[in-house]
Amino acid sequence: MEEKAVAVLNLSKLYPRVKAVDGVSFTVDKGEIFGLLGPNGAGKTTIIRILLTLINLSSGKVFLFDVDVTKNSEKVRKMCGYVPQDVSADGDLTAYENILIYAKLYGMPGKERKTRIQEVLGYLDLTERANDMVKTFSGGMMRRLEIAQAMVNRPKVLFLDEPSIGLDPNARRIIWVLIKKLRDEFGTTIFLTTHDMNEADVLCDRIGIMNKGHLAVLGTPAQLKSTVGGDVISINSNNPACTLKVKELGYSIISDSSDGHCDIVVSNGENLIPQLLDSLKASEVQVESVSLKKPTLDDVFLKYTGARIEGEEGSFAETRRTRKAFQRFTK
């Protein structure tokens, strides 16, 4: 069997009053961007903390590059970089010092240290602010610094807990580009959690949807979306014969009306539209407008958990933490 970056087998974590994680199994390939998606309190952060040996598991087995996290925690921690959900850069130090301390804690030899820190500062576009106090940083810069701290050791797996929480859309996009770049250039395996559908869709190669401690479903964003049905193309025409023509062309119609409007279900809708329009034109049917609706991960989430992710209420502590993180980021 090929070595997996992360292997989780039937993992459970019990707290006195709740089952935070309940019989979860999955693997993550080397060099993959893997995301756990779910509402607050679904057990995503608990899984990350178990993988990082910060908390003990109750039952099951967890391996990082074939190393058992319960048996050799120090070796596991050496392979990992971690960007927690909360603000974890020290505001009372400069950016350079923040990275320096972590480079030292990972046992990086003194000779390499300086070049590596400069490298990682440059990579995350922080060189100019290297000697400024971190408490003067914006939220996006703070996040970049935290990723720099986690990357200075060149970890085999980088754990990102809600990497873009509390960031404005622009800063969020910058972080996304960076995460992809890290994987593409260094082959770093990236394990992230998010409750943002869009983020999971844009970033992840594969997604596991978590709900109430269970892994509801696992797959690539495209796979998951295809399980909720294909793309829907809506065609508007003044010609009442339109529906008939579309039917003749062999498409499956889900709704139609006598005035020339019809919805069809296809896969790969964007590739199909030109072909469809050409066929209709050849049949002398004038089309007024066409629209395409692709299924979203939100539809997937709804299907597998029976709830919309936005509607889920986090615990008071979670909410407070998220808000606090947000305040710190935006002050």
């Binding site: 974890s88 009372d92 804690l105």
Partner: protein, 262 residues
């Protein structure tokens, strides 16, 4: 445990200390603010009490009250700095700094040791300042290289000891509000049940057993021997007691530390 892992253990502890030192470097005002209280004890309480003529008959022969009290104030001010260390740790836990520290390969107890050592460094600043203050007030203290070095060593141990106690309590009580209360609830008993500002012989009888198990008693005793009386005969016993207490609380804090993030 081989030599490599011992080396790594102490080097990670020193990195944590370096982190704290760099913070102090960026904000030195915290050092000055912390000097207000001991200055008040010496200048107001000390100078007032030394006017009471009967007091000198209770303290060791040949010492003025200020000589007697200076080592006590030094010990107390380092204690006050160290005992609230748990609050910092709780704060760092809440911010997420602690979780990230614990995710590094640094052994957990070396992080505790590093934090304790940085409390020691803060204590040293207190010690230096109080010695200078004593010189300004023309209090006659012994300032040989040995006594100053000895006082520094004891200050570091004392700060480590109570910082570890505070961190151990933080892993149980877990919130800043409770830790504020706890810090206040235990500093005064520790302070009053030691010979910091009056000799043990003056205490009510029921307090004696508490004074005997109070690490601060030994700290004050050792400092007084070094700075005031110059009679070092009980120093080895005092040092042993301080080292044992420090080790005990260090182990206790290390064991509790993991609970901080779970």
């Amino acid at each position: 445990m081989n030599l490599g892992s011992v080396k790594r253990y102490f080097s990670s502890a020193l990195i944590i200390t370096e982190l704290e030192l760099r913070k102090i470097k960026h904000d030195q005002s915290q050092i000055w603010i912390r000097l207000i209280q001991p200055a008040l004890w010496l200048c107001v309480y000390g100078l007032t009490m030394s006017k009471i003529s009967g007091l000198t008959s209770f303290i060791p022969k040949g010492l003025t009250y200020l000589q007697f009290m200076t080592p006590g104030v030094l010990a107390q001010s380092a204690l006050f700095v160290a005992i609230f260390f748990g609050i910092t740790v709780v704060w760092e836990r809440d911010l997420g700094l602690l979780g990230k520290l614990l995710s590094t390969p640094a052994p957990r107890s070396s992080i505790v040791l590093g934090k304790a050592l940085s409390a020691g460094v803060r204590g040293i600043f207190q010690a230096i300042a109080i010695i200078i203050l004593a010189l300004i007030l023309r209090i006659d203290i012994i300032l040989s290289p040995l006594s100053v070095l000895g006082v520094f060593v004891i200050t570091i141990l004392l700060s480590m000891c109570f910082a570890c106690l505070s961190m151990a309590l933080a892993s149980i009580f877990k919130t800043r509000e409770r830790m504020m209360g706890i810090g206040q609830a235990i500093t005064m008993p520790l302070f009053f049940a030691s010979s910091a500002i009056y000799p043990i012989s003056m205490m009510p009888g029921w307090l004696h057993p508490i004074a005997v198990v109070n690490p601060l008693t030994y700290v004050v005793d050792a400092m007084r021997d070094l700075l005031a009386t110059g009679n070092l005969s009980s120093l080895p016993v005092d040092m042993l007691a301080i080292v044992l207490a420090t080790l005990f609380f260090l182990i206790l804090a290390s064991r509790g530390f993991r609970r901080m993030v779970s």
